[in-house]
Amino acid sequence: MLKRKQLSEWIQQTVFVGPGLLFFTLIVILPFFMGFYYTFTSWDGMDMDHAKWVGLDNLKRIFTEDDRFWSAFWFTSKFTVAAVAVTNLVSFVLAMLLTQNLKLKGVLRTIFFLPNVIGGLLLGYIWYFIFVRGFSTIGEATGIGFFNLQWLGTPATGFWGIVIVFVWQTAGYMMLIYIAAILNVPKELMEAARIDGAGAWRILRSVTLPLIMPAITICLFLTTSNAFKMFDLNLSLTGGGPGNATESIALNIYREGLVNGRYGLGTAKAMIFFFGVALITLTQVWVTKKKEVEA
C-alpha cells in the first residue's frame, strides 16, 4: 500500500514538474553553465565541437585590449543612469496627475501606456523616421534649434535619442505601478498630515514617497535591468553609431559572436555582463528595500 502511494507520488511529481524542469534545464541552466566553460575556450561558432581550451586568454584580451567593449560598458552605464532617472521621474509625475480627479483619466492612462505594447524594434524604426525626417521638418517650420540638431548623427544626439524613445516606451508601464501604489496610500494619513498643516510638497515627501517605496523598488529594478540589457532600440535607432559611440553591451556581445564569429570571446563578455547585471540590480534592490516602511 505504502509502495503504491510512493509510486503514485513519483508519477505525479514527474507529470507536473517534469516538463517544466526538463525544458528550463535545457534552455536556461545548461547554456548558462556551458557559458562558464566556453569563456575559457577559443570556440569560433563555425567549428562548434572543437572549442579549444585557451585558459584566461579571452579575459586577458577583454581587460587589456578590447577598448570597444569598455566603451560599450561605459555607454550602457551612462545610458542606464539617464534612462532610469528620466523614466521614473516622468512616470511618477504622470501617476500623480492621473490620481487626481480628472475626467479623462481612463483615456489618458490608455494613451500613456500604448507605446509599451509595441516592440522596441518597431518603435525604434518609427522614431528613426521622426528623428531623421520629422524633426527636420519641424525645425524648418519653427526654427527651434533643438529640432535642427543632427539627430542620431552625433554621439550626444544618438545617446539622448535612445533615451527619449526608451522613456516614451517604458514610462506608461511604470506609471501603472506608481498609480496602483499611490491609490493604496491611506487617505486618513494624507488628511491627518493636511490638518497638521503640511503643504502638498511636504505630504509628497513625508507621506506619499515613504509609503510607495515598494513600488519605487520595483520600478527602479525593472527600468535598471531593462536599460542595462537594452538591445532592440539600439539596433533600430543607431545601430551603435556613429562609429561605435552608442553601442550597448548587449549589441557588442551579439556582434562579437554572430558577426565576428568569436563565440568564445563573446561568451566571456556575456559572463562579465551577467555579473554586472546581477551586481547592479541586487545592490539597487537591497538599497531601496532598506528604505521601505510600513503604513
Partner: protein
C-alpha cells in the same frame, strides 16, 4: 471607492496639461500614419503635413514587400503555441511546488526565481549550440521550447503566488469524492486560476509577439515573424520612407488592436503581474 471631490479650476488646469502630454505621446503615431499615405516626394518636402490625397498604394506595395499575411500568420502561430505551452506547463509546475513543498521542490522554486536575473544575452551563444545539437533550430517546436524555458520562471512565479491563496479544502473534498490528482488539478484548480492565467497570457503575448533576438537566432529565415520581417525590410529599403512607413503601420496594427480590444484586462493584468513580481 474614491470620495467625491469637486471639479475645481485647479483640476481643469491639470486636465489640460494631461491632454497636452497625451498629444505629445501620440505625436509619433501621427507621423507614422500620415506619412504612410504619402508619396516619397511629399514626405521629403514636408513630413508633418497631412497627405494631399489619401492613397493606399503604399500599403499595397508594403503588403507584398514584407509578405504581410505570411509573417502575420507566423507571429500568431509562434506566439499562440508558446503562450499555450507556457500556461499549461507553468501552472502545473507551480501547483506541484505549492502543494508538495519537498526539499527538492523548494530548491527548484528558488533556482527558478534566481534564474529571472540571467540576461538573455548571457546564455544566447551557448544556446545556439544547444539548439543545433537537439535540432531545435529552424523549426516551430524549437522556438516554442525556447520560449517555454525562458518564460517558465516568471509565469511559474505568478501562478505560485496565486495558488498559495487557493484553499486546500476544496481539493480535499474532491479527493474524498474519488477524483484523481490530475482530475483535481484540471477540473477544480485550473478553472480557479483564471485571473492569474489572464495576467500570464497577456504578459507573455506582449513579450513573445514583440521579441526579436530569440527568433532571429533560432528560426530566422524558415519562420519569419513580424519583427524579423521589419528588420530585414529596413536593411533593404532604408530611405524608401513611403514603403517603410506603410510597412511599419501594418506591422503595428495587430498588437495595437489587441491592446485596445483588451485594454481593461491588460492594464489590470500588468498591474497585478508587476506588483507580485
Amino acid at each position: 471607492m474614491e470620495e467625491k471631490k469637486r471639479y475645481t479650476g485647479g483640476v481643469l488646469v491639470l486636465e489640460i496639461i494631461g491632454i497636452l502630454v497625451a498629444l505629445l505621446f501620440l505625436s509619433p503615431f501621427y507621423f507614422l500614419i500620415v506619412n504612410s499615405f504619402k508619396k516619397l516626394a511629399e514626405i521629403l518636402l514636408n513630413a508633418a503635413k497631412l497627405p494631399e490625397v489619401f492613397s493606399f498604394s503604399n500599403f499595397k506595395r508594403a503588403w507584398i514587400a514584407i509578405d504581410f499575411p505570411t509573417v502575420l500568420m507566423h507571429s500568431v502561430v509562434v506566439t499562440g503555441l508558446s503562450v499555450l505551452a507556457l500556461v499549461i506547463v507553468s501552472s502545473m509546475t507551480a501547483y506541484r511546488l505549492v502543494r508538495r513543498p519537498t526539499l527538492f521542490n523548494k530548491i527548484l522554486f528558488n533556482v527558478l526565481v534566481a534564474a529571472m536575473i540571467i540576461p538573455f544575452q548571457s546564455v544566447m551563444l551557448p544556446l545556439m549550440r544547444i539548439t543545433a545539437l537537439f535540432e531545435l533550430r529552424g523549426n516551430l517546436h524549437g522556438i516554442v521550447i525556447c520560449y517555454l524555458g525562458f518564460g517558465l520562471p516568471l509565469s511559474m512565479f505568478l501562478y505560485h503566488g496565486f495558488i498559495k491563496s487557493v484553499p486546500y479544502e476544496i481539493e480535499e473534498a474532491a479527493v474524498v469524492d474519488g477524483a484523481s490528482p490530475y482530475g483535481v488539478f484540471l477540473r477544480i484548480v485550473f478553472p480557479l486560476l483564471k485571473p492569474i492565467t489572464m495576467t500570464v497570457i497577456i504578459l507573455n503575448v506582449l513579450w513573445i509577439w514583440n521579441d526579436y533576438l530569440l527568433p532571429v537566432l533560432v528560426i530566422n529565415d524558415s519562420f519569419t515573424t513580424i519583427p524579423l520581417a521589419v528588420q530585414k525590410f529596413f536593411g533593404q529599403y532604408l530611405r524608401k520612407w513611403d514603403l517603410a512607413m506603410a510597412a511599419l503601420t501594418l506591422s503595428t496594427i495587430p498588437v495595437v488592436a489587441f491592446f485596445l480590444l483588451l485594454q481593461k484586462h491588460i492594464i489590470a493584468g500588468i498591474t497585478a503581474g508587476s506588483v507580485k513580481g
